[in-house]
Assembly symmetry: C2
């Protein structure tokens, strides 16, 4: 295990030829953006590279793979991108993988075991590091790479709105925009919603409850609600941002019931409240203002646990 | 009336000393950002400059004027910023003004009468032109100017999401972010909402109606609704973006009842549908993807008029 510079990461990539790139479970715009951008870059160098995605590529991200076809080869170099912890590596992604050669990430809490590790926790998205890699690999920007990088940086910053955004994030956006249909990407990721999602939002607003003089707000979805509306995981995106928007709320908690008696918890915070430290109490983690965990139990039990912990935490 | 370059605009500003800067009615982040950025810049040059705002400065934009105090002088040079048409100049703003010397704007449809006109319709926000003016005026960036410019470019692009955003917009963001508390500005303009606004959103979702196979969606607020919830103009912001978000919607229309039997109409479009041309049918105007107008009548009459026109327009 060795922490390395991005220059070293580039030279490791340049000195190998057959890559498998690992993304995390519940794949999001950043891990997919990193995966496809890196794969396209390596392929431009005449190398072979596949992106391993747990489950199917979410349909909304189909545009990332428009010019991508799985290649048939036996990988000799394994790279994980935007994966913060071993538990986030899905079963099918890890098939045939016995160790990770190189880990590229931006989570300060990274716990991946790999031969070489590059973590830039100042990067709003891991895709920023992939963007920085390109000149080191002597790869020129093109439409596919630009779309993937733009997807990574825009989705991990809520379209350049979250506190993790930096001048560098904007510089990268300015640089990749001329190469890709960023407006279509914004529409897909930040604008369009199905009528079912709109109904779900309406329903979830009715579940909002406030605690501790409104410093903590909690919303939830249940399997029943989703079944009734016919909504799936796609419709769940963005719901986590709702409770922290309310005036006075420092910690917004979103609870999503999953099969098997477990709730997936998303925490979003304001005013410097550490979402990552809070989620760590429940075995989760993430970023200072956006983190997650899983808690077992029924709705009332899980909510009570979270709210009680939030009370201690906000004091 | 003479169209001029930005260099000429700078030399006009440099050769005068007592400025009144005019902003438009229903002042938004861009006209206010332009106004305060330009006033701060001119004051740094030892000149006198006041920003004329119709009504009180909206409280959410109070941060723009944190280091601003009205100066006592008789203006000799009148500059309008981000004002697209004479009808958008409010009564109190125009007090003592008999003609406009210089107009700086980014609306391609600009109809202001002024001695000199600078309109850059490629600018996402008029604040982009103010930012470009700074080096021509030999004014260095500071916190106040940066906050005002950031406010202009971020609010006019929906935080860098709308189709009017360009690489230049991102370049400017990257440049001003180190000087100001852009995260606070984002929180104020794009994140926080009152509980009353949340209730209003819930209520407005119930008013959604679809037409023409879902290509057109309409929502509305009435004076009754707002009175019931205790919401004012502040809570109305952002509502206009709701209907165009729905999958398949090409034209999203938001109707807001105002006192005196008139509805203020906001139109947001996708797929290249020209919102500005549509609003022109009702004596309004704006940008290709975001425009507005006013229509007199009761709810049903106004909606019928708009929906009928939309049907012709979408065909």
């Amino acid at each position: 295990m060795k922490k390395i510079t991005l220059e070293k990461a580039a030279s490791l990539l340049l000195s190998h030829d057959k890559f498998k790139i690992l993304t995390h479970i519940y794949p999001d715009g950043d891990c997919l953006g990193c995966g496809y951008a890196l794969a396209f870059a390596l392929r431009k160098l005449g190398k072979q590279a596949n992106v391993a995605v747990e489950g199917a590529l979410p349909s909304k991200f189909g545009y990332l793979a428009e010019h991508y076809e799985e290649q048939d080869f036996t990988p000799e170099y394994i790279v994980s991108v935007d994966v913060a912890a071993p538990s986030l590596l899905g079963e099918s992604v890890m098939q045939g993988v016995d160790h990770i050669d190189l880990c590229i990430d931006h989570h300060g809490t990274n716990t991946i075991t790999a031969d070489y590790i590059y973590v830039d926790s100042s990067a709003a998205a891991a895709a920023e590091s992939i963007w920085q890699l390109l000149p080191l690999l002597h790869v020129e920007m093109d439409e596919d790479i630009a779309a993937a990088i733009y997807t990574g940086i825009s989705t991990d910053t809520g379209c350049f709105c979250y506190s993790n955004t930096t001048s560098r994030t904007h510089h990268i956006a300015a640089g990749v925009m001329p190469f890709c249909d960023w407006n279509k990407i914004n529409y897909i990721n930040f604008v369009v919603k199905t009528r079912a999602k709109l109904k779900l939002e309406r329903m979830i607003l009715d579940t909002m409850s406030y605690y501790y003089d409104g410093k903590c707000a909690v919303i939830y979805t249940t399997l029943d609600m989703c079944e009734k509306l016919g909504t799936g995981d796609d419709e769940m995106e963005g719901l986590a941002s709702i409770p922290r928007q309310i005036e006075g709320v420092q910690m917004g908690i979103t609870m999503r019931e999953k099969a098997g008696g477990v709730f997936k918890i998303s925490v979003r915070t304001n005013d410097g409240v550490d979402a990552s430290a809070f989620c760590k109490l429940f075995g989760g983690g993430g970023h200072p203002a956006a983190a997650g965990c899983s808690v077992e139990g029924d709705l009332e039990t899980v909510r009570d646990k979270l709210v009680t912990a939030a009370g201690d935490f906000l004091r």
